[in-house]
């Protein structure tokens, strides 16, 4: 290239020299003259190079420099824009990293996209539970899975020389590790035949258990540990990251096998299991569904009697859900709503920034017109304005990443309850890619309107100075109005969302528990030692323990029960029964109720009011074991309008009928948000099946937390091999139940606040601009005798009009999006009238407040100055 240029110029000199020679000059003179005529060769070369170097990169650098200069000229605007962007991009990055860590990132197992959670689903409640016999049928007869594994999460009591501890464990089929395709870190995992009632006592340890409890013992394989008072030989340790089901510390073989479970017999206890499966490669969703439907039909045909007996025949089907989806659980819908909300905030920010830049573009019209007159093409101007918006977006985006990093660090450190069952949130490559893309797209989006407004400038108009204010252009003004309406409308959508969540949070927090959570400590123990083989021995343990606890100074009352309300763990059985004295019903149509076993003082310990009859007392003993107490929900649903006291119910042929002796208030027994079902209380004093695993309730005089230590010591004194676990005050459990609602509310509330602030700034900006634009007009009006309220009305009227349109659009948007919010709401409909009425009023209030300052400024316009300004 360089040589060519050189050669070209040299050829020119030669031609010129020859011309002079032909004219009769001597060679020396001819050469000299052509050199002189040519002038500075190097300069010409430089200029030629310049003409070529006018390329994209050069233009870009020039644009960036220019943009920096422009931004420096208006630092307040630059700062506002960058701050807005930092907050919005930071919020988006944070939410995306949540979504990425919890929803998008694949599980850490090989080809994890082929892992599925498989379950039978039955009954009118679409209950997802699988039966062990059907697991064996499915495993044997399916055509789509490489392998299927049953597992059953539970807890075991680990006793070592120093202490006893409750561990999260899972009983698993030998195929379990194969399905997840993981190799042990050391040793081996379960062999093919290692399941069933006679399975060898072996155990596989998790990495974290091996490290924290076994001191990373490299020779652990072959040693034994005591789980539920059974010596088990350690056969292997799984690698770090193998964590399924989440939090499992030890895996042991299933206590049943094919032979002990099939054929499915109603007379034989069936194990309820979970199933995980690995899909064969290249199996479509449709093939999967078809095969599962075929399997469901085959199983129903194989055991027609069993399915008819419980009334599930027609409704049992089998579903497979990607394992990742299954593990995301409840957070998925909330995260999707949050993503939507935070994207709306970013849109609002874009509208806001577009507005700010538009205002400036108008002010810069003459500058741009001059540049165009000097030969800058429209495309070049568009590019330059876009470069300016990118120059704002990029630093804003970087600051946003920083903010997100801080927010993520905070989330990981404080670990809100909702995130506790998920891996830590991280700012990884895909999040950064997302953020950079977002930053650029944002820069382009908020830059496009000003860029085209700038390119649309008419050179002649802009250069004519007389019209400089009016030439802002109707188009740009309309655009600004559209933008501010969009901002207000989107804010209203967010406000309504936040309002609905706030309403459901309040409804949930105000839920009448039916009992008093104050100063109530709850904990669990699990009796697994061979000492507690009989019901009597367990009863003895609890009697001793309650006696000891009651002697503690700050303890008022104490009780045991099979279940702890709001703990998310259920032991009670669901019972089908008949009301004695009514005509008998077939099994499938009989009423159902939950049953739970409590000690005599349970109702008083929890402060559950007695509505009718009596609670358990001295009359109830192992010899008079037929008394039950029911909750009000039972009385209302099953015996409406009747006096329940003295009525009998029967559950099974051969066993004695139960007599209702009392009705107590309904409590929120399982989920805070779920309607409490009919419940039957039975008494431990009647020798009823004391489970090995029981909840203990202690009512204290002061802060229940202070009693924890003393109570743990009493349990240890009763039996040092029985550990206490799941120790929480009832108030903590209540807070945990509210945690996910609170989490959503706080986040959406924050987003809505940012949105409304941005919208207010937007309204303020547009109204100020309007006032500036109409200074002269207003001046004339004032000169003609317009009064203060006229001027105010002029400005506020405009604001009212914009807000009105925005409210209509926002209400429509909120209505259209309401169904996505439905699953997050409690005690309030997605189209709650109150919220839909109050939020637009709030929005209107804020919009009017934001236009008040410009309106007042307009009212103070001095007609003389205003007219002179032109």
């Amino acid at each position: 290239m360089e040589d060519e240029l050189d050669e070209e110029l040299r050829s020119h000199l030669e031609f010129q020299t020859r011309k002079h020679l032909a004219a009769g000059l001597d060679p020396k003179e001819a050469q000299r003259r052509s050199r002189v005529e040519f002038g500075a060769v190097e300069l010409t070369k430089e200029e030629c190079r310049d003409e070529r170097r006018v390329n994209v990169i050069d233009n870009f650098i020039q644009d960036v420099r220019y943009a920096m200069r422009v931004l420096r000229r208006d630092p307040m605007l630059a700062l506002t824009a960058m701050l807005t962007l930092a907050i919005c991009i930071g919020a988006n990055t944070t939410v995306f990293s949540l979504v990425n860590s919890i929803i998008l990132r694949p599980l850490s197992y090989p080809q994890s996209e082929r892992l599925y959670w498989v379950s039978e689903r039955m009954g009118k409640d679409q209950l997802e539970l699988s039966h062990a016999p059907d697991y064996y049928s499915l495993r044997e007869q399916n055509k789509v899975f490489e392998d299927v594994a049953a597992y059953d999460p539970s807890t075991v009591n680990w006793t070592s020389a120093e202490k006893a501890e409750q561990l999260d464990s899972a009983q698993v089929a030998p195929s379990f590790f194969n399905v997840l395709s993981s190799q042990p870190l050391m040793g081996r995992y379960l062999a093919r035949a290692e399941e069933g009632p006679k399975a060898s006592p072996v155990v596989v340890l998790s990495y974290s258990f091996w490290r924290s409890r076994m001191g990373s013992d490299p020779n652990i394989v072959g040693k034994s540990i005591t789980l539920d008072s059974l010596q088990r030989t350690v056969i292997g340790v799984m690698p770090q990251g193998f964590d399924y089901p989440k939090g499992t510390q030890v895996w042991v073989p299933l206590p049943f096998d094919d032979a002990s479970q099939r054929p499915r017999l109603i007379s034989r206890p069936m194990w309820i299991v979970n199933m995980v499966a690995r899909l064969r490669p290249n199996i479509s969703q449709q093939q999967l569904d078809t095969d599962l439907d075929r399997m469901a039909i085959a199983i129903r045909r194989e055991y027609p009697k069993e399915f008819t007996a419980v009334g599930f025949l027609d409704s049992m089907n089998i579903l497979a859900r990607p394992l990742r989806r299954q593990m995301q659980g409840d957070l998925r819908p909330a995260l999707l709503v949050l993503s939507g909300a935070v994207a709306l905030v970013l849109l609002i920010a874009c509208a806001n920034l577009a507005n700010l830049l538009l205002a400036r573009a108008t002010a810069r019209e003459r500058e741009l017109a001059v540049r165009m007159a000097l030969g800058s093409g429209r495309a070049r101007i568009v590019r330059q304005v876009l470069t300016e918006s990118l120059a704002l977006a990029v630093p804003g985006g970087l600051a946003g990443i920083l903010m997100a990093a801080l927010a993520i660090a905070y989330l990981n450190a404080s670990k809100p309850f909702v995130l506790q069952s998920y891996p830590p949130i991280s700012l990884d490559i895909s999040t950064l890619t997302f953020t950079f893309t977002l930053t650029f797209v944002t820069g382009l989006v908020f830059g496009i309107a000003p860029a085209f407004a700038a390119a649309g400038i008419s050179i002649q108009d802009a250069l004519k100075s007389a019209s400089h204010m009016q030439s802002g252009g109707k188009r740009a003004t309309t655009l600004r109005h559209v933008l501010v309406v969009a901002e207000l409308g989107l804010s209203l959508v967010l406000l309504i969302g936040a309002g609905l969540l706030a309403r459901s949070f309040i409804a949930l927090a105000r839920t009448d528990l039916g009992f008093s959570a104050q100063n109530l400590l709850t904990l669990r123990v699990n009796l697994v030692n061979s000492r507690y083989a009989t019901v009597e021995s367990r009863a003895q343990f609890y009697d001793d323990l309650l006696g000891r606890i009651l002697r503690l100074p700050m303890v008022q009352r104490a009780a045991v029960a099979t279940d702890i309300p709001l703990s998310g763990e259920r032991h009670w059985g669901n019972l089908r029964f008949q009301v004695v004295g009514r005509s008998p019903l077939p099994l499938a149509q009989r009423p159902t109720a939950d049953t739970t076993v409590v000690s005599g003082d349970f109702f008083r310990t929890l402060g559950i009011p007695l509505r009718n009859g009596r609670t358990f007392d001295e009359q109830d003993s192992t010899k008079a074991a037929d008394s039950i107490v029911i909750n009000e929900a039972f009385a209302k649903k099953i015996l409406p309008g009747e006096d329940p006291i003295g009525r009998y119910i029967s559950s099974r042929k051969g066993s004695p009928d139960w007599r209702i002796v009392g009705v107590v208030g309904t409590i929120r027994s399982s989920d805070l948000g779920a309607d409490p079902p009919p419940l039957i209380y039975r008494c431990t004093c009647q020798g009823n099946s004391f489970l090995s695993r029981m909840g203990i309730f202690v009512k204290t005089t002061g802060d229940a937390r202070q009693a924890v230590r003393a109570i743990e010591e009493e349990v240890s004194a009763t039996d040092r091999n029985t550990p206490v676990f799941d120790v929480k005050t009832m108030e903590d459990r209540l807070n945990d139940s509210l945690a996910s609602q609170e989490f959503q509310l706080v986040l959406i509330g924050t987003f809505a606040s940012i949105a409304i602030i941005l919208a207010a700034v937007g309204v303020y900006g547009v109204m100020s601009y309007l006032v500036t634009l109409r200074t002269r007009e207003i001046g004339i009006r004032v000169a003609m005798g317009a009064r203060l309220e006229h001027v105010l009305r002029l400005v506020l009227g405009e604001s009212f009009a914009l807000t009105g349109v925005a409210i209509a659009a926002g209400l429509f948007g909120a209505w259209a999006l309401s169904r996505y919010l439905k699953s997050l709401l409690y005690g309030v409909t997605a189209l709650d009238g109150f919220t839909f009425a109050i939020m637009p009023l709030g929005l209107a209030g804020i919009a009017i407040a934001a236009s008040l300052v410009p309106a007042l400024r307009a009212s103070r316009i001095d007609p003389i100055t205003a007219l002179r300004e032109e």
Partner: protein, 111 residues
């Protein structure tokens, strides 16, 4: 050839003249300047310092393209020729020029 007879050309005008000159066929830089000089009867002199940057600019814009060839005098030289878009550009600029000249002429006559 004297300095009084020399007229400085506006940038856009030089481009127009180059394009027009090349309409007759491919030509190297020196020949272009000679031809402009000849046809304008020595009134318009093209300074080499503007000619070559202009040629490179026009080439960069795709209105003309360059090829190495051998001149009538046997010397290797860079020959320029019009492209299709250059031809269109020439029409546009000729038209613009005519209107401008017409306008200026009218002002000079009537004002």
């Amino acid at each position: 050839m004297t300095s009084q007879s020399r007229l400085d050309l506006l940038q856009g005008t030089l481009d127009l003249l180059i394009l027009r000159t090349l309409q007759t066929g491919p030509m190297h830089g020196w020949a272009i300047s000679e031809r402009i000089q000849q046809i304008s009867r020595e009134v318009l002199r093209v300074n080499q310092g503007s000619l070559y940057p202009a040629l490179h600019r026009l080439e960069h814009q795709g209105w003309i393209k360059a090829e190495w060839g051998i001149s009538e005098l046997g010397r290797r030289a860079r020959f320029y020729q019009l492209t299709a878009s250059g031809r269109k550009q020439l029409e546009v600029e000729t038209d613009n020029w005519a209107r401008l000249a017409d306008a200026i002429g009218r002002v000079l006559e009537e004002a």
